[in-house]
Symmetry: C2
Subunit: 291 residues, 2 copies
């Protein structure tokens, strides 16, 4: 079978042999947002057509491919959600040439009753090593970071912070855009930003101070993006992490490492999930389906 | 004389007769950021050359025209600052054809010792009707909103929140960009956004909820920008306003009206300065100079 993590900005495909072994892997920047309406089958064939022509007919996909602007809108299922509930709501695309199916996203609400949604992260969560995640608090850093509360192997509730999206928007469109280059992370500046986030003040105020620290040469231009990253992640962690409760991080290793450092500044312990949670999750969901 | 409020994005010029009467007025979008390095005299002549050729030789300017990327960098002066101290630090451009001078900006620090700067707002503040402002708490809404503490007719301290800049960056570069059109403000949606800001949660979380409220049709696409505005201004006001202390607003009437409504939601009274504070401030500073 072919397992695909098809997110907003990236496409990751895995070819899995009949005995569950990973036979091939492919990553590209053909995210769901870059595919024109009606163009998903063509996009799929362009990426993994070789595998399909070689006989693979089963395709299981997770992520934004199931969103309103994706291949087909797959209804969200409500939390609390187990792996079985998610697998039971997988939707078939009903196309002739392939048995292609999409994993549903989840819908919940925050403590104020405002809707919360995810697509793709549910699959990574159920792909944690050792089966259903044994951690109570998960964090999946990204453009739209998810903070997830697990109860009895169920996804009980989750909260999204669009910290990565804000970081990008601020670097592209605000007075802080002058240092828009992608600098390597400067650890000291990142931690200074986290320390700043712990002080009183609105985020919009702390952001302006990045400008004044540059103007007064108290931080270097080349460190400013790291400082900004620490400031934004710090403001998120300050609100989301619970003192004394550890957090298990799932996602890109470099980003997980930044979150781990920020959490440590707030005296919150963390662990990091080994790479491949998406593949493991897709494999587990596929194993619960009748093909 | 000619009085000019030359900000980042806008140019406002006033021709003032010998008896202090306003003889002409001109506004354009030729902000300091749009003028190439070395091109300020040409820009000035393009805007008000007619007035200069008609005999006006005294030009007093405030705002970003005195910044590092402006006509000439005029050193900041430190708070606390009186009108006299600001007037005493006006810098002459020393050009042949004109007696052109620039009002200095102010530098201070927030309660954590992080630098704070303003250019142009000091002139508006000293232009409050009735002479030196009798209010203790001022707010000058804009791209970089200033919250100012006055003591004995001195600007004692100030704090900047880049709320307007964030609003623009989010509408241009984030997942919330789909409703980037300039909708007329929807009062009810604005107040819903302010109400949301009063609830617990990080700004980055509340921002993502704008997306989920749209997805679940709980707010209309046409109201989303008003909701976002309420959310951002609410998060600012929540941190900056002091309960029981009224705030005097100086600036664009429509924006002041939004801030007044947000402040009222936090039970903070406000008043609005009549238009023309920049002209009044420039006139007062000019009156203290030897020409």
């Amino acid at each position: 079978m072919i397992a695909i993590n098809w997110g907003t900005s990236n496409f990751r495909a895995f070819r899995i042999g009949s005995k569950g072994t990973l036979e091939a892997e492919k990553t590209s920047s053909r995210g769901a947002l870059s595919v024109p309406s009606g163009g998903f089958l063509d996009a799929l064939m362009a990426e993994v057509g070789d595998w399909i022509r070689a006989g693979e007919e089963k395709v299981l996909m997770s992520g934004m491919v199931g969103a309103r602007r994706g291949w087909k809108e797959v209804p969200y299922i409500s939390v609390p959600a187990t792996l079985e509930k998610v697998a039971g709501a997988v939707v078939s695309l009903q196309i002739d040439c392939l048995d292609a199916r999409i994993v549903p996203g989840l819908i919940g609400a925050d403590e104020c009753g405002i809707p919360e949604v995810m697509r793709g992260e549910e699959t990574e969560i159920f792909g944690c090593e050792g089966g259903s995640p044994s951690h109570s608090n998960l964090c999946l850093p990204g453009t739209h970071t998810k903070w997830v509360r697990m109860e009895d192997a169920r996804i009980a509730a989750f909260t999204t912070c669009m910290t990565g999206d804000l970081y990008k928007a601020i670097r592209e469109g605000s007075i802080l855009r002058s240092f828009a280059g992608q600098d390597p992370i400067d650890d000291a500046a990142f931690l200074l930003g986290v320390a700043r986030s712990r002080q009183a003040g609105a985020l919009a105020h702390h952001l302006f101070c990045v400008r004044t620290l540059l103007l007064t040469a108290r931080i270097a231009e080349s460190s400013a993006s790291s400082y900004l990253s620490g400031l934004l992640i710090g403001h998120e962690v300050k609100t989301m992490a619970r003192e004394g409760e550890s957090v298990h991080l799932i996602g890109d290793a470099a980003l997980c490492s930044l979150y781990a450092r920020a959490l440590a500044e707030f005296d919150v312990q963390s662990s990091v999930e080994p790479a491949g949670a998406d593949l493991r999750g897709l494999t587990r969901i596929a194993g619960r389906l009748e093909w």
